[in-house]
Symmetry: C2
Subunit: 418 residues, 2 copies
């Protein structure tokens, strides 16, 4: 389906609209008059799916009664397809359902967006080769940049689901234990090297109890969200040996408000980068399971206009989300509905396509210059980082909605007492 499906919601019918009928991403929204409901974005509106089910126009066994997509995701891939089919029919230009559905449209300007799903657990991978090489060179020197295991399997670590927040939530600069190489003792201080990471998260929609093949893993994924894994680089450098990043990655992880269903991304499948060494059988690509999705990050100092600071593409990932999930399940680790699998930072080969300030400013040594003339090595208080994603066909765009967060200054005193 690489042509625009036209809708009677006319704002959805432009080439650049992020939410055409081909997309129908899943979110949760409230209005001043109404508690949070599940909805799908269409043009500049949201179709209230919870209200549609309550009115008997949709019937998914009450899956939309709670303001989260988890119950619907748990109903399985056949049901996911049924919802898309029904909504696509009813929202299509010329549909007889228009008068029935029109009262269930809410303008996006009137809506506040919430977490689209309850995150069961959060795992973050490290599957971008350029990112791993850049960070490895900075943390361990260029000769040890890419760890010996890296080309053989997706390397990852578990994060904190409790710290995942939706776009628009303000993020507080953390305190933490830091020690610069030239310091003799560690200090407990506000992070001075706070950073963003441009990622895409896969949302697990089907649970599992046993190892999954890459093909099975792909079928278990419900959809994708933009993801910014805020990172305190000074805390990370001091803590990460030998058990990996921990406090440096647990202040907040911001996700976009819309889950783009896998079905909407099918036309944009493409191959991941060429493998330098053959993968073991259970991790091999059964098909081109990556996606061509353009990704950007914008940085806006407090009260000033935003500068685009990077532009990259999802297909730069060396390991696809399906390979990550297959690896994750390989130990027999149970996977659950609502597990969030971060891709890892997606950097391209060029300097302008790096997915974090750590890489863009090369550890702060070469600050970037914004359109405002200001420079940035790492984030300043008040900065807003906004991620955007777009899969572009000739006549339409699949958008993800802004994934934005602003940085609040560190607490003056982190503790109530002491």
């Amino acid at each position: 389906m690489t042509y625009l499906r036209r809708s009677w919601v006319s704002s959805a019918n432009t080439t650049s609209c992020p939410f055409p009928l081909n997309n129908l991403p899943c979110g949760v929204f409230s209005t001043p008059d109404q508690r949070a409901h599940c909805g799908v974005a269409i043009g500049d509106h949201i179709l209230d799916v919870t209200a549609l089910e309550a009115a008997g126009i949709l019937d998914f066994g009450g899956a939309f009664s709670a303001p989260t997509w988890n119950a619907f995701m748990a109903s399985g891939a056949k049901i996911w397809a049924q919802l898309r089919e029904q909504l696509t029919d009813m929202l299509a230009e010329g549909s007889a359902a228009q008068p029935q559905l029109a009262p269930f449209l809410v303008h996006q300007h009137a809506a506040r967006l919430h977490m689209p799903f309850t995150v069961a657990e959060f795992t973050d991978f490290y599957a971008g080769r350029h990112h791993a090489t850049n960070v490895g060179a900075m943390f361990r020197g260029p000769e040890h940049a890419l760890p010996a295991n890296w080309l053989h399997m997706p390397i990852g670590y578990n994060g904190r689901a409790s710290s995942v927040v939706v776009s628009g939530t303000k993020v507080r600069r953390p305190w933490g234990q830091v020690k610069a190489p030239d310091e003799s003792q560690p200090r407990f201080a506000p992070s001075a090297r706070f950073d963003f990471e441009l990622e895409v998260g896969a949302v697990v929609g089907s649970p599992s109890e046993r190892p999954l093949t890459v093909e099975e893993a792909d079928a278990h994924i419900f959809g994708y969200v933009l993801l910014n894994d805020w990172s305190a680089r000074d805390i990370q450098a001091w803590e990460y040996q030998p058990l990996g990043p921990f406090k440096s990655k647990s202040t907040a992880t911001t996700i976009g408000p819309w889950i783009v269903m896998k079905a909407a991304l099918e036309p944009f499948r493409c191959a991941p980068p060429k493998r330098d060494v053959a993968l073991l059988a259970h991790l091999q690509d059964p098909a081109p399971l990556s996606y061509d999705i353009e990704l950007t990050a914008m940085l806006a100092p407090a009260g000033k206009r935003a500068s685009q600071i990077t532009s990259t593409n999802y297909r730069e990932l060396y390991y696809t989300a399906a390979q990550q999930l297959a690896h994750h399940s390989s130990s027999g680790c149970p996977m659950r509905v609502g597990d969030l699998i971060g891709s890892g930072t997606i950097s391209g080969a060029t300097e302008e396509s790096r997915g974090s300030l750590l890489e863009l400013s090369w550890g702060g040594q070469a600050p970037i210059t914004l359109h405002t003339g200001e420079q940035r090595g790492f984030l300043h208080d008040g900065d807003t980082v906004t991620l955007n994603g777009a899969a572009r066909a000739e006549s339409y765009t699949i958008g993800f909605g802004d994934c934005a967060g602003s940085l609040l200054p560190a607490l003056k005193k982190p503790f109530k007492e002491i």
Copy 2:
């Protein structure tokens, strides 16, 4: 309270009974005739707390209607104390409540034990100095045994809550990617170096959104469980650089069936080991917050008698659970009711007090000999590992109940297809 409180449940009145009136640990049980309920252990019985509340004898706002202690934990520390006080009064020798309560006792032999709480998220620390030194020496050489950061803060990583199981659940030997130092390429194979880890888990009972002092963190802990963090050492050695252990630690983590409330352990408070270097202010010990708890591990080959393979003590931990939780919260990471904080492997200074086979057999080079005459470098299929814990006063014992798991052979074919 260092003397035995006598109960009209006479089996609770011996010096060696693990469940005297002083203990009252929290569990979830079912019988052939009854779905899972919350209960507390007393002597060789379980007092059915869910049924007591349903009968109006206790009133905690319906906290026991679901078969998990989470709702009760969320009610806060004052309520925790109220329950202990009410149950202690009603179960005390001479209590007028005996006739009313007696029908709510179930013999432990008739009960099946379930997960005592729903694990929100699972974090495992690395807070035993002897363990960290032993493992560091094996993985990185004796000169880099203890990482530079180790004496300054508790090092930890996040595990998978989905893989936490209750004592008695069989554990399947995992497959994983491994590469021995003398192999040129990695292989996907069943783990050949599968191990246990003797730990104690702290259960977070009060949520938080901001950094906690050590004293506050201690107040947020509801209680403690035994914890065996099963570990695939061959998978771990190949994967752990640079983001830490991941698949090697996600097959299963077994916890004991009883949460021993912090209040029951108060008489056993003691100081942690002497600090070689002063801790930063926010991690300093405000009081002796460790515990004197004897810990053992038994290993039984399939169908054979068990050998005690180690004997250690909780007070060997360099960082207390309160310090771990304070560190965990320091980044602003939200902590939730039901978060499980593993202590890390608790090894003593002597060879006989090491808390894992990795250390006991020194990486498999010096297998231990069981009472049956069999040797063990790592676990064999069919082996059962049982952890036990006891805090001993002159006239009573606070027990934790067995934390046991048996090892099933690896799946012949890990995948349905390929």
